[in-house]
Symmetry: C2
Subunit: 711 residues, 2 copies
């Protein structure tokens, strides 16, 4: 066996070497086609040039594909050897860095400037430009504004610019599947149980963190101005914007390890729920600060003249003092307006996401689409995608809409799908998430060397690290203290430390910071953000196991002691019953009595829960299955379906029948739901503990590390 | 039950209505955001404009998503009611047409011309243009050349132009998954058995068809000139190009019905194999004719002056007489050169596709990646995608490379994958294929009304229909006659008629014709191609069932008489044993003895098949499983794995043990392969017949209609 293993190891090494070679070959191809393009530039054959540019694009994309392939192989090796210090995202960054160094220093193609003409003194900038070159018309599309200094770079290093993607790619192509997957794989039972705390951390915490970081950075910037370390403008709104983008945490690395080590499910739910929701909060927050940061609206604190030609468009958000005034007093009205906008955008996106989720649930409920899995999966995929597009078309935030669509789909639609489609959709989004995430992280590594306008300011960087640390602390500790006043199941201090430590920054922070790198301030932010992401992913991500043992957080809890433990813990658990019930109970009743019966095949029939006047409607909406299920004790398990469909049902029933307390609920009378709820609250964990046994089967030992959701 | 059904029907109708409403709402959104953009255009806020343009794009894309959703729901209804006259692709076209009509006539947004400036008299057309608008630099990227007449249209109807995608999207995003899926789901056993015939139809047949159609169209064009029906230039090369693009058949509709009705597997294999390969041939052919069609190289037969500034680039393909000469004599050298180029591009793409397939097979064989299904699937997906990019970067044809990569992946890599990944990859590409195909077809419908430069010339259209018919006939009948001389298992005349009838045109023809619509000739071709696709998909596709019964082609053969039939047919089948063996036997031996053992875990160990001098290498390459399998009779079934993994193995063994002829092959000696081959040839069908029984289980009755491969 050992011999076999080492042989496999040797073969793998050979393969990795081969892949490295092929990567360098592809970089050469990329270079050659670059050169070919060079030689051709003198001819005027536009079509051919477009073709060459396409070849170049293919070669560039190929580099990333090979990078990802390399990452996959290496990460397999790490997993194979149970090497836990480096997560795949961290590895993707390292490979990205290496290729970035090669592209930057290894290949130098000085470009002739001939292909860039600087002319045409017109005073509008149309989206489509028709240019008449010696009698022929060529169509050009606007890519964006660039600063005069960049204009030189365009000529200087076309090559590096070529491997640079349009930042909007991240927002419109790569982030949506990641965020949807996060929503789709949210562990709903624990999410809803800890809903109050999660919402507090995500909303209040992110806002606190944003402002704390913003204030600290503003102090830092002012200090830098004093010692003349600042070479450009840096306004207060820039600081706030920075606060918003670095407040989006992404503990994917940590959660992967949590999953592997079977860490406490509540801690998992808190961290995951918070990170999913605070992404949404940070996106909306930053977009509002950003749109408010236009010259005419928020005063530039340095007191410069403001170009008022922009005034016509942004007058909806007037925030701070007019220009020329150096004060930064808060105007209550302005703050309220911003807050109103935040609520508007957020709730609009939320409503859209939930709405398309509900439509999908209705469609899958009332058509018998489940007979045709391909159609079902395709419909699911298209509806989820249309959420994003619809939100963007309406001016809301697509990413946020997609998140809530994912949660709705998981909660309702998923139950209507055929088992095959359940697998298919899960696997599809898991794959998309994996690819997108690793692409973003390897691009991050690459961009450290290939991005043209880095501004590394040591003072700012140190300031940012301190601010990020303090901002996270100001989020976690005070809120935990407040939450513990209301919670019976306290968030213990070692949990708090762990949450503090797990405040990694990832894909969302990167995507937000690369979106706009036009000004000096934004460039400095971008460079600093990159470093923060690198540090947190490598250091905090790599140190998770150490931190867990250092904080004495039990690992493998659910796996080792299933029944025995759950019963010994039973009394403690039961005492947590009332925790956050005020929110949960209302939600649970409404969901169980109305939403589930309307949107899925489970739950009590609507004819029983709705007032008699709605009789015909109730009959129309209730599915035949609901009447059939009426006598059965089935509904409370449907929550668990996402993780393991069949087992949860069985175990659920076992748990209840062996239980001293929970009398079988009697046939669908509305009143019975409170007992359901009790059971839900009391035995949620019990079931999970039992299901924990499943996770240590040889198969699962290796597999679920990848999927954030799992146990 | 009937009441339930009609209730479901009513609900579905309500849902469809709802969806139609949402579609129209989204079109309105699309319109509104258009108008909003209008209002804003007067301000100079470029960023905001880019944002609005993004919103517009989202709305446009949303229309397509909703169209696809509608198609899915309707097609479910059709399938549910077993309505076979309209395939999903045909339906997608109809919906596309409807939305096209609405966009064209329902919404009229006259555009102000202010956003398009026609200026800048420079004499180069760079790929990137920096424009200095009153001190600010804006970056523009080249989209392509447009004719002066189009330049007006750009101003006229921005709206319709907006829903028009960049034609390259079809080639670089939508076609690759379709083609890969075709390769990946090729029924390899029957494909290889009929390899000779398929290659003849695909290569020889497509070339014949291309030239016959080209000649006929040229005659037609000359005639049109005589009666002054032609308003622009139409050269011989244009005719040939037209011949090439309409020679790519795509009988997806027909094959779906074949699948459902259990039509003869050989007919299925012939049609499917031909259509898959002739796509590749047509792509390469058309690209060579197209690049040869540049002014300086192929003479414009109408004798015009030739713009020789293009000369520098295309001198590799000099084909016909120089300009000014009205003759169209073939120059043998030119033809040979074109042929050489065809071979070069084709074999280059082929080699690349096979190479990446082999690399994937090796990687999946030698790493234990199968323990981590997500990594495995991701690797498979990335490697397959990189084939496309690599081919495009090297100047070969990505689509062709992807096709052969798919075939290689199915033949080797698939066997190395874990069962979960086998399912995942199959389902993933099935979904991508489904979405891409329906997207293309609904876009086709849309484009009939939204495309700005249609040239419908009745004479040309009639001529094209006749030419397409005759071209197909000139492909099928003579070749079948010639092939029947060599084949024992004759291609009967009703099979020939069916193949003739099944010459539908689809996605590939459309993608090729929309790629370039700059000249009058190309516009006329595009319009005509659209009509040909519509006609063939609706009429030929819809009439498949009638045609089958009219030609007395037995349906449901495999389903009804399983064992009995196969034995009665045994003698006939056995006589077909030698058919195309000269090609098949060489291939089979090589594949079985060397390729399979190297690339997969199956087959005899290499130490047995390779000469002793290669001992260490052979030992290194042979997987431990191969040694373990040595004594077992396993290999010949691995061919069947794609369709049903477990069953084929069992049935395969049963077949052999109950057989009077096939003695068990004795343990892995190289000589035994000829017996394997005999079995393969003789009992391939037998096994398929037995497996046919599986296909009529209630489940499969509905399901496999979607996947082209299946039984």
């Amino acid at each position: 066996m050992a011999r076999k293993c080492s042989a496999a190891w040797r073969k793998t090494k050979t393969l990795l070497l081969l892949l490295l070679v092929s990567l360098s070959v592809s970089i050469c191809v990329c270079k050659t086609s670059e050169e070919q393009m060079e030689n051709m530039e003198n001819t005027i054959v536009t079509e051919k040039k477009a073709e060459e540019s396409h070849r170049q694009d293919s070669a560039d994309l190929l580099i990333f594909i090979l990078l990802l392939t390399l990452t996959i192989l290496t990460i397999w090796l790490f997993k194979h050897r149970r090497f836990r210090f480096l997560h795949e995202t961290g590895l993707a960054m390292i490979y990205g860095l290496i290729v970035g160094v090669i592209l930057r220093y290894g290949i130098h193609v000085p470009r002739d400037v001939s292909n860039v003409t600087l002319s045409c003194q017109v005073n509008v900038s149309p989206a489509t430009l028709l240019v008449n070159f010696s009698g022929k018309f060529y169509e050009y599309t606007l890519k964006g504004e660039i600063s005069a200094s960049e204009a030189k770079d365009v000529a200087d290093n076309e090559m590096l610019r070529k491997v640079t993607f349009d930042p909007e790619v991240f927002f419109n192509i790569l982030l949506p599947p990641i965020i949807f997957h996060a929503g789709y794989s949210l562990k709903r039972r624990h999410f809803f149980r800890n809903m109050g705390s999660i919402l507090a951390y995500a909303f209040l915490g992110t806002v606190i963190s944003c402002f704390v970081i913003g204030m600290l950075m503003y102090g830092c910037v002012v200090l830098m101005k004093q010692v003349s370390q600042l070479d450009g403008d840096f306004f207060f709104t820039d600081c706030l914007f920075f606060g918003a983008i670095v407040s989006a945490t992404d503990p994917v690395t940590v959660l992967a390890i949590f999953n592997e080590l079977q860490v406490d499910v509540d801690l998992y739910a808190l961290l995951f729920g918070e990170s999913v929701l605070n992404d949404a909060v940070a996106v909306v927050l930053s977009s509002i600060i950003d749109s408010g940061a236009d010259p005419s609206t928020w005063s530039r604190l340095n007191g410069e003249a403001v170009n008022n030609s922009f005034n016509g468009y942004n007058n909806s958000i007037v925030a701070y003092q007019p220009a020329g005034d150096n004060s930064h007093t808060f105007e209550v009205m302005a703050l309220l307006k911003s807050f109103g906008m935040f609520l508007g955008v957020f709730s609009g996106s939320f409503a859209l996401g939930v709405a398309t989720g509900i439509v999908t649930a209705l469609v899958t409920k009332f058509t018998k689409l489940r007979d045709f899995q391909l159609l079902e999966t395709a419909l699911f995929f298209l509806m989820s995608w249309s959420t994003f597009l619809l939100a963007e078309a309406c001016g809301f935030t697509g990413v946020v809409a997609v998140l809530f669509c994912g949660i709705t789909q998981a909660h309702y639609t998923y139950n209507n799908l055929s088992p095959e489609s359940q697998d298919r959709t899960k696997q599809l989004f898991e794959l998309l998430d994996f690819l997108a995430e690793n692409f973003i992280f390897s691009y991050m590594g690459l961009t450290l060397f290939t991005f043209q306008n880095h501004v590394f300011n040591p003072m700012f960087i140190v300031g940012a690290f301190v601010a990020v640390f303090l901002g996270r602390a100001a989020n976690i500790y005070p809120l935990s203290f407040l939450l513990n006043l209301g919670r019976r199941n306290k968030i213990r201090s070692n949990f708090q430390h762990m949450m503090m430590f797990a405040g990694l920054r990832g894909a969302m922070t990167f995507a937000l910071s690369i979106r706009d790198t036009a000004t000096y301030a934004r460039q400095m932010m971008f460079s600093t953000t990159l470093l923060i992401v690198f540090f947190t992913v490598w250091i905090c991500g790599g140190g998770t196991t150490q931190m867990l043992s250092c904080q004495h957080i039990r690992v493998g809890v659910d796996a080792d002691q299933d029944n025995s433990m759950s019963f010994s813990e039973g009394s403690e658990r039961r005492s947590t019953k009332q925790e956050s019930v005020w929110l949960f109970r209302i939600w649970y009743n409404f969901d169980h009595n109305y939403l589930k019966p309307i949107l899925t095949h489970s739950g009590p029939p609507l004819t029983a829960t709705l007032p008699p006047c709605c009789g015909p409607l109730a009959h129309f909406l209730t599915s035949p299955q609901a009447f059939e299920n009426e006598g059965e004790l089935k509904d409370d398990d449907s929550d668990l379906i996402l993780s393991d469909r069949d087992l949860s049902l069985t175990y659920g029933d076992v748990t209840i029948s062996t239980d001293a307390l929970g009398g079988h609920t009697t046939a669908g009378a509305p009143g019975s739901t409170s007992e359901d709820l009790d059971r839900e609250l009391t035995y949620g964990d019990h079931e999970l503990v039992m299901r924990g046994t499943r996770l240590v089967l040889p198969m699962d030992d290796s597999e679920p590390t990848f999927s954030r959701p799992s146990p």
